[in-house]
Amino acid sequence: MQGAVVPMAEIEPGCHLGNDFGCGFPAPDASIFEFEPYFGNFTKPVILLLLGSLIIIVVFLLAFRNSKLIPGKLQSIGEMGYLFIRDGISREVIGKDGDRFVPLLFSIFFFVWMGNLWGIIPGAQFPVNSRFAFPVGLAITVWILYMYLGMRHQGPIKFFTNMMFPPGMPKAIYVILAPIELISNVIVRPVTLSIRLFANMFAGHLLLTVFTVATFYLASLSLVGIVGSATSFLMTVIFTAFEALIQGLQAYIFTLLTAVYIAGSLHAEH
């Protein structure tokens, strides 16, 4: 039975190293991302997503409900988040003109971050964005937005010609460059935007699961068992901290790229 993968649901409760009933290491596979719905179509990711949205709404409503000139604790945190998006992303990338997109970027950043953060919150421990549909939905929203903005600010035809013929190139290069630019701007951008977020969360969750399962599997009364189990547990803790970093970074990168695409649509390259 080399390389046979036991589905996670069929693991016997006492599956440890050196057992008698011949169950090998139950390597986690893609089936750990499948959930039975609790009721209707409400699976665990959907519930976590709705709960996360609710938490964001409540926290920021509380933070900005009665804003004071001298902010309290919660208001300071809320303002810090807002200024991070406005000054750190929007004004840096889009410029003053981008202030009208700050609410959108703000929402995207905290929505994505909260969705990712469920991956390390004990009890939930499932990053919502590791289900492909959620990043795809976000990426389609961004795609529609920057295509619309580009056609509106540069004109429907001019938008595509500006995109395909960046100035300052030798004439012959355009034969190769024009189709590449068109494909990369219209098709590759949304695809990579969604896959980047999805694959990071997918890989991170899989990695954490491997070490968690290994901790349980190796726990047995032998030298390999004790040392291996302790090491796996340590790795779980370390990678949880690493995941916390990656989750924030991915939310930042998603928002940053959204801002870059919006900026590219507002002003043609020149």
């Binding site: 390389g3 890989a203 990168i253």
Partner: protein, 76 residues
């Protein structure tokens, strides 16, 4: 049936991921190496450099992640 000189069995997707990680690995190394160098030379431009560094990192990393996802999508 074609006679094969060499046959690969087992987890071909893992080999694919390994190959897909080479290019982005080099690219990300160059990006962060030069980014750190730029910050060391011009610490006052930290904000701009870090932002562009992360942007380049995200674009290079996408290729490695495509390689990571492909075995799951096209796996047998």
């Amino acid at each position: 049936m074609v006679d094969l000189i060499a046959d690969i069995t087992g987890s071909v997707g893992s080999i694919g991921y390994g190959l897909a990680a080479i290019g982005p690995g080099i690219g990300i190394g160059i990006i962060f190496g030069n980014g750190v160098q730029a910050i060391a030379r011009q610490p006052e431009a930290y904000g701009v450099i870090r932002q562009n560094m992360l942007l380049g990192f995200a674009l290079a990393e996408a290729l490695a992640l495509l390689g990571f996802v492909a075995p799951f999508v096209f796996g047998t």
